[in-house]
């Protein structure tokens, strides 16, 4: 059963076609990876699904509900969580506060103006639980800006998970990570429960092939091919983009 369906999705920036009539269906529980050269329109596609960008035309159906053009906060509440390609965090706040804000949105009462946040034990224990899951349990008191780049990537994932999504969008989760960190990230994502659907952009082919159930290839905003990893690696036009036209 499909959880996400893109129908004739199109996004233009002036004369530039960032998303060119994309049709794609993602099954519940699937690990779907989008690949494609720089500037292919991968991030733009994700931004339309999570609401940061408004599509020019076409439809986005999440659990059969039209979400194209909705505000990001509405889409988040419906169950779409995401990380950003470039770390997009609360840099001057602690690791705990970063995650706790997301937990508050989902499980707490953000309008509460009287009880100190630090005294709301349920929010804190839930946040710590998520931080331990991503391996940042002992870093909770640190300010995010003092973390290593790789650790900040983990905070990205922690915040996304704290929104309790059914569909998780990951924009190059391993970008800028050391090989060791990349390995950890791969096993972390692989271990996430299958109740969660993952749509992920990734450049590192080793990561792609160890996680993907299916792969989609974007090129100049167009969906060139979608299929199982083995099909994609045999696909000629894909080989051409990655080998042929390289200069």
């Amino acid at each position: 059963m499909s959880i996400l369906r893109l129908v004739d999705l199109t996004k233009t920036f002036g004369s530039l076609l960032a998303t060119d009539c994309v049709n794609l269906s993602i099954d519940a529980g699937e690990r779907h990876v989008i690949i494609g050269p720089n500037g292919a329109g991968k991030t733009s596609l994700l931004n339309q699904i999570s609401g940061q960008l408004r599509p020019t035309s076409g439809r986005i159906l999440f659990k059969d509900v039209e979400i194209a053009g909705l505000a990001p906060e509405r889409i988040c509440k419906l169950g779409v969580g995401r990380t950003f390609q470039r770390n997009n965090l609360f840099n001057r706040l602690s690791v705990l506060d970063n995650v706790r804000l997301a937990v508050l949105a989902r499980r707490g009462n953000p309008m509460n103006a009287f009880v100190p946040m630090a005294r709301l034990a349920a929010l804190e224990s839930r946040s710590v639980e998520i931080l331990e899951l991503v391996g940042l349990g002992d870093r909770r008191a640190a300010l995010v800006r003092t973390l290593s780049y790789g650790e900040q990537r983990q905070v990205e994932i922690a915040i996304a998970l704290a929104t309790e999504p059914d569909l998780l969008l990951l924009d190059e989760p391993t970008a800028g990570m050391s090989p060791a960190e990349t390995g950890q990230m791969v096993s972390f994502v692989a271990a996430l429960p299958r109740t969660l659907t993952i749509l992920m952009i990734e450049h590192d082919m080793q990561v792609v092939f160890s996680l993907a159930d299916r792969i989609s290839v974007l090129h100049y905003g167009r969906l060139l091919a979608t299929g199982a990893p083995a099909e994609i690696s045999r696909n000629e036009s894909v080989q051409e983009i990655y080998l042929g036209t390289a200069h």
Binding site: S50, G51, Q52, A71, P72, E73, R74, C76, K77, R82, F84, N88, L89, F90, N91, R92, L93, D97, R100, L101, A102, L104, A105, R106, G108, N109, P110, M111, N112, A113, F114, V115, P116, M117, A118, L120, A141, A142, L143, T146, I159, A162, T163
Partner: protein, 318 residues
């Protein structure tokens, strides 16, 4: 990250203790002001306290929610004029007038905020300024109600000491109330919006709603300071709505340091203090304030309070 504890500095817990003792001493001294000071000095302290409320309310917007308003005088003026007009036209007691002022300001802030929140950056600044100037010209032109440029005289409270304590209690209420709010989820959401609005929205917050709420709370408290100003002065003129007052609020925040509650208090005290001391020696007090302001912007970006805290943490070098 453990708090820095350089040899020259003090551990964080000691600093908190020191600041807490300083705060308690200050509050005790403020409570005793009417016993120790004459009428004039007492009214200056009262003026400082009500401008502390003004600066703290502006800081909720600027320092905590990240919304740079250049029209906060609108609410100060709404507070002052509500008390004055209701007193002059209907004989309403000024303290009741102050309560009505809060309600009026809440409505006004909801309407003004509704339009301003839609804009961001420079457009937000200009819109807030425009609304405030609009109200200024209303106060100026609508002579039948506001007295125009002559202003309005209003009945004062029984005694200057009573007025002082009303202002002092309001100051305590606003300070401790805001402290509560900022530590609570709502305040943390404001801070989240200041730090990264895109991320807040992606985490499920309808940030426009929270920004409007911050605008309304700040507007109400700004109106409270204006109402107290009317009470203390016994006279209200269109100057309470002029853009220079909005600018003075911003200067107080930058002088004292924004994003804390003590910063605006320090800034308001320094600003009003300078205004009264320097203006007795020369007509150019604005020049002195301007020079200090420039020094703050250039050398202590955290303001005076932020700088003091830094010295306590780092020790007295550089």
């Amino acid at each position: 990250m453990p708090e820095r504890t350089d040899a020259a500095g003090l551990p964080a817990t000691r600093i908190v203790t020191i600041l807490r003792y300083a705060g308690v001493t200050l509050l005790a001294a403020l409570a005793l002001v009417p016993l120790g000071l004459g009428d004039y000095a007492r009214s200056i302290v009262a003026e400082v306290l009500l401008f502390c409320i003004f600066a703290m309310s502006l800081d909720l917007l600027l320092g905590f929610t990240g919304l740079i308003s250049f029209g906060h005088a609108a609410f100060f003026g709404i507070g002052a004029y509500t008390v004055a007009v209701l007193g002059a036209q209907f004989g309403l007691h000024p303290l009741l007038g102050a309560l009505v002022a809060l309600v009026v300001a809440a409505f006004a802030a909801a309407v003004i905020g509704f339009f301003c929140i839609r804009a961001s950056g420079v457009y937000f600044i200009m819109l807030t300024l425009a609304f405030a100037q609009l109200l200024h010209s209303v106060a100026f032109k609508w002579r039948a109600v506001t007295g125009g440029s002559d202003g309005l005289i209003l009945r004062s409270l029984e005694s200057g000491v009573t007025t002082y304590y009303v202002i002092f209690v309001a100051f305590l209420g606003v300070y401790f109330g805001l402290r509560r709010l900022i530590a609570a989820p709502l305040g943390q959401v404001f801070i989240g919006i200041r730090e990264n609005e895109t991320r807040m929205r992606a985490a499920g917050y309808a940030t426009a709603r929270y920004k409007l709420l911050s605008f309304v709370i700040a507007g109400c408290l700004g109106a409270l300071s204006g109402a107290l100003f009317a009470l203390l002065n016994g006279f209200v003129s269109p100057a309470v709505l002029f853009w220079t007052l909005s600018g003075e609020g911003l200067i107080m925040l930058i002088l004292g340091g924004m994003g804390t509650l003590v910063g605006p208090i320090v800034g308001a005290a320094v600003f009003i203090g300078l205004k009264h001391t320097v203006s007795t020696y020369s007509d150019h007090w604005e020049f002195v304030v301007g020079a200090i302001f420039i020094a703050c912007v250039l050398f202590f970006k955290q303001g005076i309070y932020g700088w003091c805290r830094e010295i306590l943490v780092r020790g007295p070098r550089s």
